[in-house]
Amino acid sequence: MDSHAINDLKKLLGADAVLYRPEELLLYEYDGSVEVARPNCVVFPRNTKDVLGIVQIANRYQIPIIGRGAGTGLSGGALARQGGILVVFSRMNRVLEIDIENQRAVVQPGVVNADLSVAVAHTGLHFAPDPSSQKASTIGGNVSENSGGPHTLAYGVTTNHVHSLEAVLPTGELVRLGSTALDPPGYDLPGLFVGSEGTLALITEITVKLTRLPETVKTLLAIFDTVDDATETVVDITARAITPAACEMLDGWTIRAVEAYVHAGFPVDCAAVLLLDVDGLREVAEQHAEEVADVCRLHRAREVRVARDARERDLLWKGRKNAFGAVGRLSPTYYVQDGVIPRTKLPQTLRRINEIGEKYGFEIGNIFHAGDGNLHPIILFDAREEKQFQRAVASADEIIGFCIEMGGSITGEHGVGMEKDRLMPLLFTEDDMNLMRRVRDAYNPAGLLNPGKIFPNTKGCGEIHVRPLPVAGVSRA
């Protein structure tokens, strides 16, 4: 990268807000996915004016710019695929305004998801989207990826909780999209920009909706001796139109990994558990808890436990939210998929995943948002062996192919990023993608912002890079 550009960035932001030495950049060459890409420099803006200045410099030298929150993403969305300036929002981490009466908050993009809920907890409100990375991931990142989480089953994903955005376009325009009041006249631009994976704008301010915490939460753990019984239970709960706040499944293999690490109290000899939250008014939650327990028993649940208090509930959820960290202790590398299927297809899909694992000789763990049909098969492999890696990718592709065959999608919440761009043609025609590319070009005409993401390039596949997992215990998904 042009040393003049570095100097300009230092002049704009101060020397302590610009990293460019190779050893400083190491930390920023990965995120939570298996991808690797090193930026030329990393900058830390403090405010919107800084962001505008960075974009001007990027334009001056024609250098790519990539936004990044905490780097917990699972599809390489915040990686500098073609090098350039990585704009890390960790210093723009202030909650600017909390409006309890109107249930809104204005935050900077670097605010950590869980911190906002903590900040408003005393008022009985919370920020509902709860990705498992919520103790680390930022709201800016959540907005860019349209993050989900276990409780999105009842509460919706990030886009359902965003009113308006302030953003800097890669052309250097500062824009405000949408409004705090509902139904602003015109096109729903926040609806387009949320989930655009950082390819349309750098988000500098977000007005979010705050949701009232439920009066009662009941957490149930249903224990099954076969995976089929667990998946059939989910099908039945969905068909009976009971909507739990969360409905998560962990298979036996994952449970044993979790128990060895978290000691959440999952039985290690079972084939699968369902972790369910039902919530709402006391009168409603109690009834739904009974209904859910009945359906579980109908499908031969060995046992249905109801958490007696908040401590028990938190422990069960800790097991769920730390599951990926637990898996990381067992294998040098793993590859998480994010396919979605209609809920009615859960049993056969889980059986198929198992067959695919056997075919390729991999252990595939399953821990996922069963209530949404959002799968997270975890393929364990050793990246040091090139052949194993190729087989892992091939097995993952076969799983995704099956999801599509079932009428599903390639990603439910992790994003396409640089990991699944080559899979886009499985869902979208060239016409579909050309229109999306045209939308991208409308706001990102020179392609300076986050290049090489979402859309397959003409070079074709085989450019996924893999690194061994750096640390176990990072919670994800």
Partner: protein
Amino acid sequence: MNIASATVPSRLADIVGPSNVGTDPAQLAAFAIDDKSPSSVVRPQSAAEIAEIVKFARKEKLAIVATSARTKLGIGLPPRQYDIALDMTRLDRMVSYDPGDLTLSVEAGIPLHKLSAILAEHRQFLPLAVPYFDRTTIGGTIASGVDGPLRQFYGTARDYLLGMEFVTGEGVVAKSGGRVVKNVTGYDIHKVMIGALGTLGVITRINFKTFPMLLSSRAFVATFQTVERACGMRNRVSQSHLAPVTMEIFSPGVANLFASDAAKRIAPTSIPENIFSGSRWIFTSGFAGNPNALARYENDLRKTAEECGAVDAAVLEGPQLASAFALKREFIPIALSSSPATAVLKISGLPRQIAEALTAATREAETRRLPWVAMARGVGIIYFAILPSESSEATKQQAVQAADSTLSTCAAWGGHATIPWCPTAWKSALKVWGLPRADFAQMLKLKKAFDRDGIFGPGRFVGGI
């Protein structure tokens, strides 16, 4: 137009067959928008046919408006040009419905009531309780972006739309989203189509998440001496753990409105007289659930109403509940048929600004002796209907002044207001789409990406898009 307009129908007939092209003046008049009739009505049967029509129109510089039930063509500004009415009623198929997955894919021209009947067989529904419910189609509902009372609990279509297929201004059939309940693959283009009045593309297919039908439901109604007290009740409920499915506040004048013939056709079962009558403000909220939950709602709402100074209160169920719900849902059509010159302002503010906004709009109307009636949704949307007894030039001036002042007041609070419905002759004087918006430049970019040549309803949308 650069070809003889006489050849247009035959060229269209080449695409859809002669029996699906109309040029009869009476038929064309039925598709008029703000007194402007198209020169052809064409009834395609598929997205592929629409793509051909669009390609033809683009080449010949003809303007297209897609419609089916024609219930909401009055929304927006008069079209600058209008050549082809695309009658979507033949695209009325259910593409797929997986009740077990609670997902649905339908063509845009399917009538909402027909779709509701199919879903009801599986005890499911779409929370689109929108105006003209018995006539409107799913495509018109989405393209116009109209809302309904159920948004209190279920949000708007953007919260349960899963994907869409549409035809762009280049005549390309494209899609976004999918059919599963959770999906982040590609841009959420379907969201920008909601409420775009068809100016980005012709919606041909829509995928939705469906919902389990409500268990038995009731509505709580309480009347108050002042708007502040009625809004106080709204505030208290929204701060509680109660999660009602609807929540509205009606102005005193609603009694006359709901006594009209139009209202009686929509809601044949009369509501007890003490409810929508007199000079009081009305708070009403629907709730649903098991018997214990119903009892809890009723008890908590009664207590809250008392503490908020309600004059009286009642709980509606059965046919009365259905009537009250229909009146809420059809507030706008009833208001439109109740005056020769109805103008409906849609005012958006923060939920806590409802009382203040209502007071301001009321002052503007009453200062000018304009009869009015209002319905406010608990989420912060107010429909303020001005109902003059005649549509003279003087009345128009009064209405324009009242609307302009209300628009400015809303903007000063950080809210916004538009005038989705008003007499055609008033549209050039009224700020139909509200005050200019800072993000308009970004909307233009989107329009260019979808419809570079501006063939979809040119001039009708925000900023003359």
